[in-house]
Amino acid sequence: MAKDYIIDIQHLSKSFGGVKVLDDINFYIRKGEFITLLGPSGCGKTTLLRQIAGFIAPDEGKILLEGKDISGIPPYERPLNTVFQRYALFPHLDVYDNIAFGLKLQKLAPEEIQKRVKKMLKMVSMTDYEDRSVDSLSGGQQQRVAIARALVNYPKVLLLDEPLAALDLKMRKDMQLELKEIHRKMGITFIYVTHDQEEALTLSDTIVVMNEGKIQQIGTPTDIYNEPVNCFVADFIGESNILKGRMMRDRRVAFIKHEFDCVDEGFGEDVPVDVVVRPEDIYFTTDPAKCQFTAKVNSCIFKGVHYEMWVDTDTGYELMIQDYDPYEVGSEVMLYIDPDDIQVMHKERTRNVFDGKMVDETHVELIGGVFECKAQADLSAGDEVRAEIRFEDVDLLDHQEDGVIAGEVHFLLYKGDHYHLTILTEEGDHIWVDTNDIWDKGDLVGINFKPRGIKLTKKND
């Protein structure tokens, strides 16, 4: 383990009521770093923070602080402090006593306490507020007191659980700058939890993107934005066009039925990939020599700094473009993309794969349902099989009871000419679906597989 790691998290897992909230989390935090755990609600980021703070014990794994496992140490003996989401100030104490709470427990000399509290009040620009009751303070002021109360103990690490979520936009922006300034002045390691990607990009040295209890990507804000490793990260951070593509060879990728130069290598030849192009990276041109493809402007909306346009390409794909200049709806435009701005990602999956068992020659039991399949001469009832189903061979039905099994639309991505959906079944399995139909997140659906689309192979021989 390197010397400058202050926290090292190894194989951390946690389940609540049978649901895995954290699944084998591994990462380290450098001393003095501002690290952000970023993800949608329910991704496990707060659970992770609460485990570091000591309010929840992990099921498995270790949390090392400066090389020592602290998993078994109660929160009041950990040299860490937390800033809570809704401040959690003590209403019966005034501002001074709130901040002095931790120091008094340490039984420091009163002069020392006073010195440190005053210094901290100055740090958060609340010098004249010592005698105020915390209820009389605004949200922003309460948050400052909460930060001072935590920092006054000089913790080795400061944990912040969505500390700005309850503030209005303007206040939030100001506090972001102040937090960054405080971090710089104090030199303490900050672990920050948020679901706001913009906040994460603004504040962090390192971002840990999480989803469904797993780490998706760890990197600097620019890495995460420019080189997302998968569709989830690309979609979650900023706006993006996520498209199905094919790596032709090194530095050459095909998508939206055109071929483009790119900078990625090592994917192999003729390999299916996902491609991300940020909307600000598609450029308009009037030079036919530069033009890579043409499109027709479909809509154009003014967004303050830039215009957001949807265009239909000559090959029938929809793309989002952001530009400082507007283009008239209905006009034909020429477009190009710089090789640098094309981010190629390995496909996380190319088909659904399930393990199952033959019921009879034309039926197979998979993920809690019995599906019809093509007659299988070489398979007999009871055989253990592996089933592969392409994304487009899954049928979604409006009524849950019409499907063999039922599920819920869990995540959706628009890929230029179709939607790629993640369906969470009632049994907790994931099914991925390509469809042209429009569904919303949370829609309840019945699920069926096209009998011809189920490809079965016998297992274990």
Binding site: A53, G54, Y76, L80, R86, A88, L89, P91, H92, L105
Partner: protein, 265 residues
Amino acid sequence: MKKVLAKAYLYLLLAMLYAPLLFIAIFSFTESRVLGNWTGFSTKLYVNLFSGGMNGGSSLLAAVENTLLIALISAAFATLLGTVAAIGIYNLKGRKKAAMQFLNNIPMINPDIITGVSLFLLFVFLHVSQGYATVVLAHITFCTPYVVLSVMPRLAQMNPNIYEAALDLGATPAQALRKVLIPELRPGMISGFILAFTMSLDDFAVTFFTRGTIGLETLSTYIYADARKGGLTPELRPLMTIIFLIVLILLVVMNMRREKMNKTN
């Protein structure tokens, strides 16, 4: 016209509610042994009450003393138990929580006489000799749910993170309880204590069934026995007036506290 009728109805109702109390208060300032006979203003009954110079001697004062002491002890214990129970119930989830809150409500709607008889049977079954201790135990039992009921709302409106915040700042669970949780719950605990105190103070049925045969008298059992002997001891009139005033003051204090609490929130 409608308004006048409505007002008249209200005042009539209030008059009927308060007339008996007023009646006793007025007649506590006369010497007549028979209630309703005005024999001129006098504070002799008050003097008698406090000097013990009356028929029945010091037994009335002893009953008052018992009543107050029992109420104090039971309210104190009920406050302790009820607060701990409220914190426990608050930390339960879903169905368990609803079930516990329901169980807590039953003793409050249960008629006193049933509580009294069942406690009596329990003590007999357990071969506990009945007396002062059993009365106190019984009072703690029926007072505790009221404390739970007055502490729960405080817990519900408390920021759930403040206990964790205290731990986070280095307080042990005991310190967090003492320095953060109890101060936060104190208004609810005080309301609960006052409620428990008044409940214990005016209890008759439960006391009657659990006091055993050692001759323990509280105010309510004393008055009951006294009335059965024929005619109420006249000194009860000033006593009741004083008790009424004390309860009135407690009520006003409680209401003022509640208003103050509502204002700060």
